[in-house]
């Protein structure tokens, strides 16, 4: 029997993954949630038909939004993760003993329940006593927070679905306000390769660049993303991702990683020419 999951990356390109079976399907208040079992990527979850993460490659996301800012900011106590419904990013941050508080905000609590059931390893992030879960809209949650967090991670990936509000100027502004004077925000920056993704990517950089004194972009290779290539944003009030990078501190921690290294940290900020160009164009606007 041939059973394939397909996702259109553009109108003319699709990625297909052979599926052993579908484990779950339901419609939440916000989106359709499906879970599949596959030989190549293990279990993976899709929201409205788009792959959100798979067991095979979610370590890349989780490490890149954690260790990059953690190797730059010298003293992190409070972290906020927005849209971190699977718990993977919280789990990665909970490996740092000096962090006192990790708040996770996710509007779709059904998604959280599904992750807990089908991805218990990832969802372990929620078990750490420092991790607090809030079922709330990200923008609404941020409104009352001022000068509070050291790091904010926007772990939402879709600038067009129900998380659209997390890719807006008001969101970046709210994060700026909620961060301390030396706070850092990292966020999913999308994929710049296909034309239809490029505009979203440009608009994110334009807004972040205007909202924060330091705004740089870094990259990773993630097989299930459009074109397999993914960007992250690093927006910061004080620390520069390379000038204030302290590789020795990370090395001394002896944390085992599968994607992140201190060499890769530097390399991740070295972008292809076409990406540099489009980012610079937005900075000049």
């Amino acid at each position: 029997m041939e059973l394939w999951f397909s996702e259109n990356h553009t109108e003319n390109v699709k990625i297909s993954i052979r599926v052993d079976k579908q484990l779950y399907s339901a419609q939440s208040e916000y989106q359709r949630i499906d879970v599949f079992e596959s030989p190549e990527f293990g279990r993976f979850v899709t929201l409205d038909g788009d792959i959100i993460f798979s067991q095979a490659d979610d370590f890349i996301y989780n490490e890149m939004v954690t260790h990059v800012p953690m190797s730059v900011h010298p003293c992190v106590k409070k972290v906020l993760i927005i849209g971190g419904g699977d718990g993977g990013v919280a789990r990665e941050y909970s490996r740092y003993p000096e962090i006192e508080q990790i708040d996770v905000v996710e509007s779709d609590d059904m998604f959280v329940e599904v992750c807990k059931e089908f991805f218990p390893e990832t969802a372990k992030g929620f078990e750490d006593p420092r991790v607090n879960f809030f079922a709330a809209d990200g923008l609404a949650f941020l409104r009352s927070k001022k000068d509070y967090y050291d790091i904010i991670v926007n772990d939402s990936t879709d600038p067009f679905g129900h998380t659209e509000g997390l890719f807006t100027k008001e969101f970046y502004g709210s994060c700026f306000k909620a961060l301390k004077d030396d706070g850092i925000m990292v966020y999913q920056h999308g994929s710049p390769f296909y034309d239809e993704d490029e505009e979203a990517c440009r608009s994110m950089h334009r807004k972040a660049y205007k909202s924060f004194p330091i705004s740089r972009v870094y990259q990773a290779h993630i097989p299930t993303c459009p074109s397999g290539y993914w960007l992250f944003g690093f927006a910061s009030k004080k620390y520069h991702p390379l000038n204030d990078f302290d590789p020795q501190r990370f090395k001394d921690r002896k944390l085992e990683t599968w994607y992140y290294t201190t060499n890769l940290h530097r390399g991740a900020f070295m972008l292809p020419k076409y990406v540099e160009d489009l980012l610079e164009e937005e900075e000049d606007r």
Partner: protein, 484 residues
């Protein structure tokens, strides 16, 4: 309301039957179900262009309804609790003008507040009636004109017992409602008909906790903007009549200016929107109220802004407040409404209904979602954080009482000359000057130009209001009556 009957949508059903018949068109429109204009089909979709058909026997004719349009109008009348409903396709402007033209002839007096939509005064230019204004009270804090006070109405009626009608806009754009029931009683007792511009009040007919609608209050005519809170397509509207108004005469009046090629897109949108409101309106507007109340609470929690609500109710100028409206006073953060309006669009990709000198209005409707409200509130919070300033230099008054010298018609058709706006003090204006939206004239034909008005117009332009109404597109010059 007969809920079983309301499940029908006669125009929509007739269009469906017609579509299945696959009739070969040798009539207009010439695009022939879109085949002659592929680019139009690409833009609007096949289904949409195939519904763009001409009046014909199976589909009735809006100029003289005898079958499916008549049925649809009967259902609309039933849904709104009126004796008769007219489907209108020239916007609520056409509904407002038809009701005025049905009641007023040349030299008749009509009593109305001055803060009406320009379409009302345009109707007076057309028919030659004389406006008698009831001065609205202004709320000093937020600088908006309030509703019609019954004491003032009684006084004006006593001074002008020969007036034929009382016209009232209820609710106002900002959500202010008057004591409609008393207005109707007082006017009827004086033998005057009551015309209600209910452009911002379609939903009043479908909510348990909303202010009284015009038909409930016993008014004779009401113009309902179905395309605003009712969900139909832009330009579609409904005119309601009651109390034995001669519907056949009203139809003749409508036909004076209405197209003979009525769009079935607009008509069917009215039909299915009426059905939707009748069957699900209460439930939908309960959600709208909940969203608007949530937004009000969150916006007021930001500080600086004032999203007003039922606390304004004082039994006179504000008899009731329409809680579906989200009007916000912005000068508390040192910005005019129009500045906040521009920032929302240019910096935050959020388009709201309008901004004026002191306020913004965000239109909340059956199409909104909670997460969009969060964006609006988040953006307002961010605007305060980034742009707040000292606002002591801001002008706050929105309503400047007019000094009427001539009727709108006399002034409009007088010998005119063009003078620079800044030099027009003391002259009689022969055209409109307004900010659009909201489209309430700052100056109307026949009114005296004062320095205060000139300053206000210049200020509104400087702050970024879209000034309209004058022959001069730049609004630097004004047409005034030429006294030789």
């Amino acid at each position: 309301m007969d809920l079983e009957r309301q499940k029908h949508a006669p125009i929509y059903e007739a269009l469906e039957r017609f579509r299945k018949q696959r009739v070969v068109p040798f009539d207009v429109p010439g695009h022939k179900r879109g085949r002659g204009n592929p680019e139009l089909v690409e833009l609007l979709g096949e289904k949409c262009v195939s519904l763009d058909v001409n009046s014909m026997k199976p589909l009735d004719n809006l100029c003289h309804p005898i079958s499916v349009i008549k049925d649809a109008e009967d259902l609309a009348a039933d849904a709104f609790g009126a004796e008769h409903a007219f489907l209108m396709i020239g916007g609520t402007t056409s509904a407002v003008q038809s009701m005025i033209l049905s009641v007023c002839k040349k030299n008749d007096k009509i009593i109305l507040p001055r803060n009406v939509h320009k379409s009302v005064i345009n109707a007076l230019i057309l028919c030659g009636a004389t406006p008698v204004y009831v001065e609205p009270k202004t709320n000093e804090q937020i600088g908006i004109a309030l509703g019609m006070e019954t004491d003032k109405l009684k006084k004006v009626i006593a001074e002008h017992p020969d007036a034929v009608a009382v016209f009232i806009n209820n609710p106002t754009y900002y959500g202010i409602c008057s004591d409609l029931k008393s207005v109707v009683e007082i006017s009827h007792a004086a033998g005057m008909q009551v015309l209600v511009d209910e452009a911002h009040g379609t939903h009043l007919y479908f909510g348990d906790e909303l202010p009284l609608s015009a038909m409930q209050a016993g008014a004779d005519y009401a113009a309902i903007s179905m395309h605003k809170s009712g969900g139909s397509l832009t330009q579609s509207s409904i005119l309601l009549t009651n109390n034995g108004v001669n519907a056949d005469y009203v139809r003749q009046i409508i036909n004076l200016t209405q197209t003979t090629s009525a769009s079935y897109l607009l008509l069917s949108s009215l039909d299915i929107s009426r059905r939707n409101l009748a069957l699900r309106g209460k439930e939908s507007f309960a959600k709208v109220i909940e969203m608007a109340e949530y937004a009000r609470q969150e916006i007021n929690a930001i500080g600086g802004y004032y999203a007003y609500g039922t606390e304004l109710v004082d039994g006179a100028g504000v008899f009731a407040f329409d809680v579906t409206k989200l009007s916000v006073y912005t000068q508390g953060i040192g910005l005019t409404g129009i500045e906040v309006y521009d920032l929302l669009r240019d910096e935050y990709d959020i388009q709201i209904e309008f901004g004026d000198i002191g306020n913004i209005l965000a239109y909340i409707s059956i199409g909104d979602r909670k997460r969009d409200i969060e964006r609006l509130v988040g953006a307002l919070a961010d605007i305060k954080r980034l742009y707040e300033r000292d606002g002591s230099d801001l002008i706050d008054s929105e309503y400047i009482p007019p000094i009427v010298v001539k009727t709108p018609q006399d002034a409009f058709y007088s010998e005119k000359k063009t003078v620079p706006l800044t030099e027009s003090k003391g002259m009689v204006c022969a055209e409109f000057v307004m900010c659009y939206p909201p489209g309430i004239p700052i100056l109307a034909p026949g009114e005296l130009v004062t320095q205060e008005l000139i300053d206000y117009i210049l200020y509104a332009g400087e702050k970024g209001c879209s000034l309209q109404g004058t022959e001069d597109p730049e609004v630097k010059n004004l047409r005034v009556i030429d006294v030789k």
